[in-house]
Each structure stands twice: as structure tokens, then as C-alpha cells.
Symmetry: C2
Subunit: 375 residues, 2 copies
């Protein structure tokens, strides 16, 4: 066990708080309510991580590791394939919506019900009940997903203990309304700067206008035709867009600097280097004085052609969808593990004060994963 | 006498401060030093206006008017023509450069030496010494030129007492290095707005990019060919320039608004309406959603073909230059009075801590104006 924590919450110096009880024999809906009632806003996950670790250590078929407030539990059955079920245990700030409340329609309300303690409950129920899976299982519970990327527990795990995450396929139980969302697109943000020379606007011929110099950049953007490539049967949609433009000194001064911030969202058949080369090529002859990479996160292949993925899709049903936004599946992809999102919550309810989840869907998600892992 | 002041400085409630002595029998260089030593930052001109008014009232050939801290003195000789000599009596903030200091090279240093108490000294010396001018004279001393246009004393005079300013020709004794600067260009500032629809940049096809929609505006600006028309023998230079561009919501959002601020500097052969119509026409088919007039000040014809102007140029010599920037000569033009700038200071030294004036040039400027007004 590794307890060198990157972001553990300090406990009382007098005596450690008692570990909270987590009964994995409840059904996934009851377990979700229990998880919601243990608050775990980003940065305060320790009590919940302790409870999860303790509950998992009680299961003899699992080997448990801990790193900071991240918990990893694995079967070691020597199966031909290994799959990951992963979820973050933190939530956005509570908004007067804890403890949880179950209404007469079987809907559970509260912070994290949807994003994503219902998914974590499904992970824990599978861990508890599927003791003889058809594939080796790795359960990953990580912290600080809802905050800055550098605090992300999965990132720290991948850096410190990549072997814990080795697998053939991964499922993140993020809310996806029980649709399989495959892979994810990459996102590259660059600053394109044009330079000129200041002058009084009454004597503009003495200067050179940096905003006018940006005209070819905007023309190129306006005329850009994005690709919609099909990968593993999913149609991705690229896009190249200005997300910001700024230039100007004063109302009577010829501006000497204009900056266009461009965001390229690209399909997973491009590597990071290829994406960057493409953007450089698009603007190659636009008179840009400075090209600055502001942010870059690579894409993730959906990996739906892998046998484990094909079996997964068959078991859970529905039609896989491409993921346009960037998600943590990309971290698995970077480790060589194809990954998808699949979880019970409705993603449109995440981060809302009236966040909620249909408990029937939690149970259904658990059932479908069990079918995949036992049939 | 009219003392309903738009911006008079309040004096002590116990007793009014004594009026400072201003000896108009000193030469123009000595008089400049005296004027500099009576501080008159914008808004604090009252002591200097009082001194000027008192000194001028002692001259029996002049009729003196006052409005706020603006003083107007006129000869009433029934001459065929009337000319104005005008100057502002305020300065920018003092920067440890008062009182004035005369160095061994005959250079006078201090706040306002150049801009434009040397010009005011020339006005006062002409008022004192040219008692039988060949043209009727109107001397205008006004306040608050160095601050916002709505406080400008000449503007207030023109609104309240336009008859005091009636004339055939006007000379502003602003620093121009003794070059005649004719007329001035107009300046029009408009905001050109394009609109789109917000969307997450990962799903850009759901929105519409307002920055991309600005591409035709920048292309039009980059391709614009300005006119350089010759008027009264002076070559003006128009210019149409973006002075600011802004758009953008966040690094991952398709922006729904982009604003390009454009400044049109135009020659005095266009009226304000014509200038506006020209800009509307230039951008007519650029897909602009909103066209907002932000600021507009008309141009001023140089009027160098007027006999009084021709005689003036002959008397002072040099080659008249066009004035590209907007100046108070435009206020005279709006009253139907052609106007030029002509003064002893070097305009590049205005507003500087090391502001100074060559005293020899003050005397030379006075001599040339006297030749014009007496020969």
C-alpha cells in the first residue's frame, strides 16, 4: 500500500476520525444515497476514500492499492483480458442539496447523484458481487476530477503507478444516460499574433495596422471546411474556430498587436503532432508573426473494434456515440487503453442544484455491466 | 460683462484674492515667463483669467467681454475685415516645472512655455501694441482646452456668445513651430458589430461564430485605398482604420459577438454626413448587424483662399501644411470662420516635463503677426 499522498486531507492531530461504514450489500440505489450523504467536494475526499478502501479490503477476491485519496482494487485471476471500471469520487460544491432525498417516483436528488456517485455505486456493487468475472477487473476510484487538471487523481495515478491501470479496455462510469460514448476528440488552442507599428490614427500612414493584418486569418477561418471522419463506426466532427480576438490601444492609435485565439477540436485519427501541423499549415501564409500553443489535450480512439469493447456494446445495448468534448477517457488512451464513457446519470443534470438520478437506471446499468462481465 | 460662469474657480468666501499684475509693456519673452509663473492647470484658470481681463480693460482701444474664465477683447474700428487671434490659457498638470527658468541660450523652460503661454503672450503683446490694426481684431482667451471637449471654453463661448467670435479668419496660436497649419481633418469613430450564436466549441456546428463573421470587415479595411485630396493647395490624407477589435466568451465557447471599432479620418471636402455615408457604403455588404456612431467631429476647411488668409501667409512666410489631427480650428470652421494654427512653440515638446520654448521665436512670431496686421 502506498500512502504518499499528493493531496490527502489532513486529519485531526489528536486522533484519526473513525472510518465511515459503507455497506456494499445494499442495492446500487441505496448505496448511491449513502455515497451522496458522505460529502466529498473536490479536495475533501478523504473520508469517502477511507470508507471505500475499508469496504473493498473486506473483499478477499480483490487486491487493494491506495495513493493519496485514490483507491485501486484489482482481481488477479489470470484472465486473458483485463478491463477497468473507473469513476471519480469528488463532487462540485454542495448547493443545499445534501443529504440526498428519494421522491415517490424513485428519483434520488442531491449533489453527486448524477455526477457520479450513482456510477461509483455501480462500480462498488460489481466489485462486491462479481467475484468470478470473465475478464480480470480493475476498479479505479479517484479524486479531484471536478477541478484543475493538475489536481486530477487519475493523472497522478497514471504518473505514479501506471501498472495499476494496465488493461485492454476501460469504462468510465460518467453520466452518459446509458449511452456508450466512444473515445474523445482532441482540443488544441493556439494564439495567432499579428504585429504592426503604432501611430496616431490621424497619421495612419506612419504606422502599420495589426488588426488589418489579421484579415487573412479570419478569412481562412470563415472558409475552413471541417472533416467529419468515421472512426470505429462513429462519426466525429472537427471544428476550427476563433474563440477570442483582441487588439487595440486607444481610439486614436493604430494598433501594433492583434491576437486571435483559435480552438481546434479534432478527431482521434490525428495525433497531437498531426493536429498541430495541420493548424500550422492552415495559417501558413497568413502573415502570422507569432504562433503560441496555449493548451493541448490529445484525442482518444474509441477502440470499439477491440473484442472487450465489442462484447461491452453488445451487453449494454444502444448505439455508441462519439464524444466531442475532451474527457478522462483520453488519459486511458494515452496509457494505451481504449476507453468509453457509460453511466446511469443524465449528463445535462450534472453540476445543477436540482441534480438527480432515476434509481431504476442505476440498477439497470449495474445489471448490464454484470451481464457483460459474467456471460 | 457676463459673469455667469460655466466653470469658474470658487474664491475665498471672506475676501476675493487680489488680481495679479500683468505688465503688457514687457517683451513677449518676459511676458511668457510671467504667464507661466501664474499656474493655470485646467479648471484653475481664474487667477490668470482675472489678470488678463484686468490688463486688457486698461487698454482703451479694446472692448472686453468675459464669460466664465474666458476673456474676449475686440477692436471696433469698422474695418472691412475682422480676424481672430485665439489661445487657451490652461495647461496640463504641472510636473515640477513651475516657476519658469530662462537658460543661458535664451530658452525658457516650464509648464505651458510651449503649449501655449508663449502664444498667449504674443496675443497680449499684439493687443497692447497694435492699436490701429489694418483689420479689426478679436482676441480670444479660453479655458479647459487640455481636458474633455465638453469643458472646452471655446465651445462654451461659441454656444453662448457666437457673435463675439464672428470674423473672416482666425489664427489659433497653438505651437506649430511657426508653420501655418491649415484647416483640420474630421474624425468619425464607429462600432461595427457582428453577431452569431454561442455553442460549446466541441460542438461548433450548433452555433455561429461572430468573429468569423467579421472577416469581410477586416478584408475591406485591409484593402481600403484612402484618398489624398488637395484642398486650397494642401494635400490632406484620409485613413480608415480599425483601432480596436474584441470578441470572445471563453476558451471553449463559440463567440456570439464581435466588435470592430473603426476610425475614419477625413479631409475637409467631406461634410459630416458625407463622411458617415462613405463609411456606411464601404461596409454595406459586410454582414454587419449593428452600426453605432461612437464619436464624430467634423473637418475644417483651411480657407487659405480668403484674402485675409493669403495676406497672413505672405506676412508669416513658410509653406502652409495641412493639419491631419482634429483641433479647435474646427470650432471656428463650424461658425463659418476659416482658421489655421500658427504659434511659436515646437509641438513635439507640448505636455512634456522638459517643455520649453526658444524666446527668440516668440519675438519673431510677434513681429510677423504685427507685420500682417499693420502693413
Amino acid at each position: 500500500m502506498d500512502r504518499t499522498a499528493p493531496a490527502a486531507t489532513p486529519s485531526s492531530p489528536e486522533r484519526p476520525a473513525p472510518v465511515l461504514d459503507l455497506d456494499l450489500d445494499q442495492d446500487a440505489a441505496q448505496l448511491t444515497a449513502r455515497l451522496v450523504d458522505i460529502p466529498s467536494e473536490s479536495g475533501t475526499e478523504k473520508p469517502l476514500a477511507d470508507a471505500i478502501e475499508t469496504a473493498l479490503r473486506a473483499l478477499p477476491h480483490l487486491t487493494v492499492h491506495r495513493y493519496g485519496n485514490n483507491v485501486v482494487a484489482r482481481t488477479e485471476l489470470g484472465r486473458a483480458q483485463r478491463v477497468v471500471l473507473a469513476g471519480h469520487i469528488d463532487t462540485v460544491p454542495i448547493a443545499d442539496n445534501v443529504p440526498s432525498r428519494l421522491d415517490e417516483d424513485g428519483v434520488l436528488w442531491g449533489c453527486g447523484t448524477c455526477d457520479m456517485k450513482s456510477g461509483v455505486a455501480v462500480q462498488l456493487r460489481i466489485a462486491r458481487t462479481v467475484t468470478e468475472p470473465n475478464r480480470d477487473l480493475t476498479f479505479v476510484f479517484y479524486d479531484n476530477e471536478e477541478v484543475a487538471a493538475e489536481r486530477n487523481g487519475l493523472k497522478h495515478l497514471a504518473a505514479a503507478h501506471p501498472s495499476w491501470l494496465e488493461a485492454d479496455f476501460a469504462v468510465l462510469l460518467e453520466p452518459s444516460d446509458q449511452q456508450v460514448e466512444g473515445g474523445c476528440q482532441g482540443t488544441l488552442r493556439v494564439l495567432l499574433r499579428t504585429r504592426g507599428e503604432r501611430a496616431h490614427s490621424a497619421r495612419s500612414w506612419l504606422g502599420s495596422n495589426a488588426i488589418h493584418a489579421a484579415a487573412p486569418i479570419l478569412a481562412r477561418l470563415a472558409g475552413y471546411r471541417p472533416r467529419y471522419p468515421v472512426i470505429d463506426g462513429l462519426e466525429y466532427r472537427e471544428g476550427l474556430n476563433a474563440v477570442r480576438i483582441e487588439g487595440g490601444v486607444a481610439g486614436n492609435v493604430i494598433p501594433d498587436l492583434c491576437t486571435v485565439t483559435v480552438n481546434f477540436r479534432y478527431a482521434p485519427d490525428r495525433t497531437e503532432d498531426e493536429a498541430l501541423a495541420h493548424v500550422r499549415e492552415v495559417f501558413a501564409d497568413c502573415g502570422i508573426d507569432e504562433f503560441v500553443i496555449d493548451d493541448h489535450s490529445g484525442a482518444a480512439m474509441p477502440g470499439l473494434s477491440h473484442p472487450a469493447a465489442r462484447a461491452f456494446i453488445e451487453a449494454v445495448g444502444g448505439t455508441p456515440q462519439p464524444k466531442y468534448g475532451w474527457t478522462d477517457v483520453s488519459r486511458f488512451s494515452a496509457l494505451g487503453v481504449p476507453a468509453v464513457n457509460y453511466g446511469p446519470g443524465n449528463p445535462h443534470l450534472a453540476h445543477k442544484r436540482d441534480e438527480r438520478v432515476d434509481t431504476g437506471k442505476i440498477l439497470a446499468a449495474e445489471d448490464r455491466l454484470r451481464v457483460w462481465l459474467t456471460s
